[in-house]
Symmetry: C2
Subunit: 174 residues, 2 copies
DNA sequence: AAAACCGGTTGCGAAATAAAATCAGTTCGA
DNA sequence: TCGAACTGATTTTATTTCGCAACCGGTTTT
């Protein structure tokens, strides 16, 4: 229960190592990915809509750990008494560039499917400017930062639209 | 060649997920890090000089997996019959930007030690130009690409020198 | 009132992980 | 020549984690 209280039981003070101690498993980043790109904010959304089929006990465990590490936070949903809303913290939002790089590497070297990698491609092509725009959007959604007036659709919406388009092309190839 | 033959037992075709299936554990990236930044090329070097204290069976297992995934390769040491030399492949070398981003995140958000994070800082400050220079250096060392004539010390040497300097400062603070 | 939904918990067998001891071939010094 | 030390590992054993399925008390919807 108490989790890690103090316990600087770190293997080393290397940034790579410490990051692996926090995120170095097969599920933690999957959950953050779903929150960030899929806008899943509730336990059941993360559970049922997850592409990889995460188990509920693993999900509960990782949400607990990510909270303890300060990557996400949790609050009650005012509209629904036993519903919890999970949010990314600034620490979690700033994982976006890491996702962009991992996505780019995976897209280049692993057998990705086109539909699921179109977002990684756009993120890669958009570069740091697009990342910053998306992070600002995430800050509004997850941290409640007031929105500066923007014109068109948000980054997530653009990524989603691109995904839909690929799916449509896939169903009716030219 | 053999590599992924059959067995598309992948959880999904998402680039993030596929990357996690390859590298999503607490040790794989540690080993690649040591090969890349510490220039460890032999089993014993990776085992004995590892900062985090990896166990020999885990090291052997991860080296096997990373080879199967094509991230590293192995060849005999001509000077020593039962000595093996491990090398990064191009696929492994191109993990450098991922390390740079992970290192930057870890340095910002986790309790890193100064000495062990100075390299991450330089890599972050150097930006993509420095990354490309380092990757070119790695291609020479690991892939046998002929060196284009360079002037000063290499990137790894500069990173190492910065580390030594921090250590020296630590011992004799101003 | 009944059914569906909510965020989880529990139990269990299988698999992965990790520490320590061990191994066979190689090299090297005495 | 012999044996100790070194090489890249494997084996053994114990512990932890994973993944599945069933379940839970409370809440909301029908």
């Amino acid at each position: 229960m108490a989790a890690d209280k103090e316990a600087s039981a770190h293997r080393s003070g290397c940034p790579i190592n410490l990051t692996l101690e926090v995120l170095g498993d097969k599920w933690s980043l999957i959950i953050v990915r779903d929150m960030m790109f899929g806008n899943r904010r509730h336990f059941r959304e993360l559970l049922a809509q997850n592409e990889e089929g995460i188990a509920s006990n693993i999900l509960a465990d990782r949400l607990r750990r990510l909270m303890a590490e300060g990557v996400i936070s949790k609050k009650d949903d005012p509209s629904h008494k036993q519903k919890a809303i999970y949010s990314l913290t600034e620490k979690g939002i700033e994982l976006l560039p890491v996702f962009a790089m991992i996505g780019a590497w995976g897209r280049k070297w692993l057998p990705v499917t086109e539909a699921l990698s179109i977002r990684a491609q756009l993120l890669e092509e958009g570069g740091p400017d697009l990342w910053e725009e998306f992070m600002e959007e995430l800050r509004q959604e997850h941290l409640g930062i007031p929105a500066k007036p923007r014109s068109g659709p948000g980054v997530r919406e653009r990524l989603r639209a691109a995904y839909e388009e690929v799916m449509a092309r896939g169903r009716a190839p030219a």
